[in-house]
């Protein structure tokens, strides 16, 4: 009954669904790199690499900065961690909800048993 809307989360996961883009994130996790370097590493054209980096940038997973003629890509890792944490929170919500439900149900069960005992005596 309660739905949270996180459009940017969808963008992040769409970005992560591609193995090349996951590879780019891993590569950037080791060190910053230019689009040219990334294109060479992954055996792609500059245009193809620019597209992948664009998707990652849109999702907030990568930041780019142009210095002179070189565009350098860095990991925007904080966002990624936030989103992993957000998924965990969803599970935590249901887990917490069901913990409370357990408490309510156990209390009702004890109550019923007490009532039955009273009836018998």
């Amino acid at each position: 009954m309660v739905q949270l809307r996180h459009a940017h989360l969808d963008a992040s996961f769409a970005a992560l669904s591609d193995p090349t883009r996951r590879g780019i994130l891993e590569r950037l996790g080791r060190a910053d790199a230019s689009i040219t370097e990334l294109a060479e590493t992954f055996g792609m054209t500059l245009t193809g690499m620019k597209k992948h980096v664009g998707v990652l940038e849109q999702a907030g997973l990568v930041a780019t900065e142009k210095v002179g003629r070189v565009r350098t890509c860095t990991l925007g890792g904080r966002r990624l961690e936030q989103e992993a944490a957000w998924i965990k929170r969803y599970h935590q919500l249901w887990d917490a909800r069901f913990d409370e439900l357990d408490r309510v149900v156990e209390e009702l069960t004890r109550q019923e048993r007490r009532d039955e005992r009273k009836k018998r005596t």
């Binding site: 309660v2 949270l4 969803y90 599970h91 909800r97 357990d102």
Partner: protein, 168 residues
């Protein structure tokens, strides 16, 4: 030293699972320590329902909770929020005492989801299976929670990735 106190050990807390069943469905399961009859009651009686549906960790305050758990009956939950309270509402479409419950989620207008809950007896305990079904894959993804859980299978992968990314 080995003597135990007279207190009985508390009931086991069971695991909550969250899984994507298809493009349009997310499934949550949990075994609850009590009979289906009682669990069903906790889902359908407002005074009981409000005691567990909004756990403290959710950080929200429930201002009102009305449930009319009959086929065609309505429910309405109002939460305290800034700048104004937010209502979640819908209609019960299936009510089979102690075994099955389904309601629509209408606050989002078109593309609202259907929540179906089944209660299965497991030797005095109850397996609760809750399915959120969206009319389309896009609706599930737009709903956020669905999209997040849809990717629970890649979560482990994501975890690994985070570890990789986190290490310099």
């Amino acid at each position: 030293m080995n003597a135990r106190s007279g207190r009985e050990p508390g009931p086991v807390k069971h695991r909550t699972t969250v899984e994507r069943k298809s493009d349009r469905e997310v499934v949550v399961t949990r075994i609850i320590n009590g009979q289906a009859r009682i669990v069903f009651e906790a889902f359908t009686k407002a005074d009981l329902f409000r005691r567990w549906w909004v756990p403290r960790s959710m950080g929200m305050t429930l201002l009102s909770c009305e449930l009319d758990a009959r086929v065609g009956g309505k429910y309405r939950l109002v939460f305290d929020a800034v700048p104004e309270p937010v209502a979640f509402f819908g209609t019960y479409v299936e009510v089979k005492p102690h075994s099955r419950l389904a309601w629509t989620n209408e606050e989002g207008g078109d593309g609202g989801s259907l929540t179906t809950v089944t209660f299965a007896d497991k030797e005095g305990k109850t397996l609760v299976t809750l399915v959120e079904s969206y009319p389309t894959k896009e609706a599930l993804e737009a709903a956020g929670t669905g999209a997040a859980e849809a990717l629970i299978e890649t979560f482990d992968q994501l975890d690994e990735l985070l570890i990789t990314l986190g290490s310099p």
